[in-house]
Symmetry: C2
Subunit: 339 residues, 2 copies
DNA sequence: CTTGGCACTCGTCTGACCGGAGTGCCAGCA
DNA sequence: TGCTGGCACTCCGGTCAGACGAGTGCCAAG
């Protein structure tokens, strides 16, 4: 059905359309890409591609543009992730290494990604639940108020104030601190419930009830309601595509302002072993149906810290953006693993 | 020069233009606003207003539109801050009171402001330097590493990791903790240097050198480099004004992504005693010259916690937006004072 | 100082027209 | 069977002229 030349035609259409934003016609295509066949032949191939749903017509006498399905085929079969140039790699590395703390790493990554790809960039903070505990500090603010400060191996520092159901003495708090500290140090947060399971039994009976209730609150706040944070940048790039999103810019911006949406975007696939691409209608998110999303997890395979990526028009440079996303994800992963 | 009727004409022009987005002509204006004079008279007044630079002509046969100077006069003399309806006030109050912590207060305020005004909203976290210390915790992470956790009276929690020039024992850290704690508790951060001034002298000679160096680092990180945080929301509203900012949307978005710019915006005037308005060219920020900015400080008079406001086209509902900004600023101020 | 009248300006809308890019189809050729 | 050149057709986009109308500026009169 689709022989090599037809695929080659599709690739040419995608490449030309992406770089010119204009529907591409048979004649220009035939000569510019040295296919060695006449425009008429190209037209026949185009008709076939259109029958299969890979390209369309804005109107009768216009050139062809790829459909979502066409982009999908292009991404899967016709292009490969474009590695960055050594110069770009060096630039990324030195830029990221200048970061002084996690916030800075995240901010710089966003900026980097949006500049490299000239698209909107999205970076998720290392997920709490998949990080492990470097340090857990318990501060006794008031008789019935504790401050928990959690520092993870990725450098994320999270704090919560707990209102206690009962009052505690300083000694109680010291006991809590050492009990939690010894059990949680080095443990991943998802494993926290297991690590703490034996705690009530092994504690002195006197503080057992209060300890149980503190434990419940701790687990609830740190494990069950893990706070995900996501940073967004480069929204100004969207304005370059006013032609792509005629009146669609509004919903796109609205969607991007919803943390939930972003989480969904990055949460669905943040596997650090490969770059993921969602094209147009493939996006479950209403409002991003006219965009493509390129994402990747960062951190160790199998247990990624978080995800990052870019959002842009379906008409985007997939190979290049995938390369940039992959490169940044890798560097960020390494950086945080070494931190 | 400008008698009452001319001012009335200016007000009518501003009001009509703001609500219709269309240049307003003498005839429509004369009858719609019941000025009791003929269109010809209005035309004469318009000519005078134009001579004075308060209004212009897009072209010969179009109606008039206000200039920045015209809006300025309108804001200063012709309109008053519009108080919110009781229903709106209740809504604000109950929405803000639902917040569980400072992050939540800020997020909700942004959302609230952008929904009330249908503009881009900007909210600054309570400034560190002007807050006072509720609690300062020092955690000994490693022999030469400390974690400082600062909790302010406004509920802001800030942490820094310090690399020390020397190693410390746990006892040293305990000494530090109590020394800093007793001196800083309740003090404003700007007063921290003074509060700590006598510290080296009163300390045991043994730890004096290390204490001095820690002190320096602490003051540097907390006082000299106070981290300002600003949250932005409702950028999608900008798309409603594509006609107002033809190709100007780009620079506006870019400017709004710069923390520095936002700080400048809110920093210049965050006086909680009144609403401030910057109109068009009055903005020092390149890129926001086509917008107006309505801001107000929140917190106690004379020592505000921070600022908040909205950014929109010069063609905005000043009275309404000023009312919303003022209301939200007051509630936020009260909320944080009571926290 | 206000008013009605009037000529004038100028942007916008409409419809007609044209050129060009591109297609689809067909018949011929390897 | 598959490629090619040719040709008629479609339809978009730009340009141009003309009509319309909103709005102005100015002037003379009340």
């Amino acid at each position: 059905m689709l022989d090599d030349r037809k695929l080659e035609v599709l690739r040419a259409i995608v490449e030309d359309f992406v770089s010119t934003t204009e529907p591409v016609g048979s004649k220009a295509l035939a000569q510019r890409h040295g296919l060695g066949v006449s425009p008429a032949t190209v037209r026949n191939d185009m008709a076939a591609l259109e029958d299969e749903g890979f390209i369309t017509h804005p109107h009768t006498s216009a050139g062809r543009i790829p459909t979502d399905k066409g982009y999908r085929l292009f991404v899967d079969k016709l292009s490969s992730v474009k590695p960055l140039s050594p110069a770009e790699k060096r630039a990324i590395q030195s830029f990221l290494e200048g970061a002084v703390d996690l916030d800075d790493v995240v901010r710089r990554s966003v900026r980097l990604l949006s500049q490299l790809t000239r698209q909107v960039a999205v970076v998720q903070y290392p997920s709490l639940s998949r990080s492990s505990v470097r340090h857990l500090e318990i501060v006794h603010l008031a008789p019935n108020r504790l401050l928990l400060v959690l520092i993870t191996d990725t450098g994320r520092v999270e704090q919560r104030v707990l209102e206690l159901p009962a009052t505690l003495s300083d000694d109680d708090v010291a006991a809590l601190r050492s009990a939690f500290g010894s059990r949680l140090h080095g443990a991943r947060l998802v494993d926290a419930p297991a690590a703490l399971a034996d705690l009530p039994d092994s504690a002195p009976t006197a503080i057992r009830p209060v300890l149980t209730s503190v434990m419940t609150v701790v687990l609830e706040t740190l494990v069950d309601q893990p706070e995900e944070r996501i940073v967004l940048g480069g929204t100004a790039h969207l304005t370059r595509h006013l032609t792509d999103f005629p009146q669609t810019l509004r919903p796109v911006l609205e969607a991007l302002e919803e943390q939930v949406v972003l989480l969904k975007l990055l949460g669905e696939v943040n596997d650090p072993s490969a770059v993921h691409v969602k094209i147009g209608e493939e996006n479950n998110v209403e409002g991003l149906r006219s965009t493509s999303v390129v994402t990747m997890g960062y951190g160790p395979d199998g247990s990624p810290y978080g995800g990052l990526g870019v959002v842009g028009p379906t008409r985007m440079d997939y190979a290049g953006n995938m390369g940039s996303v992959r490169a940044v994800a890798r560097y960020v992963g390494e950086l945080l693993a070494g931190a």
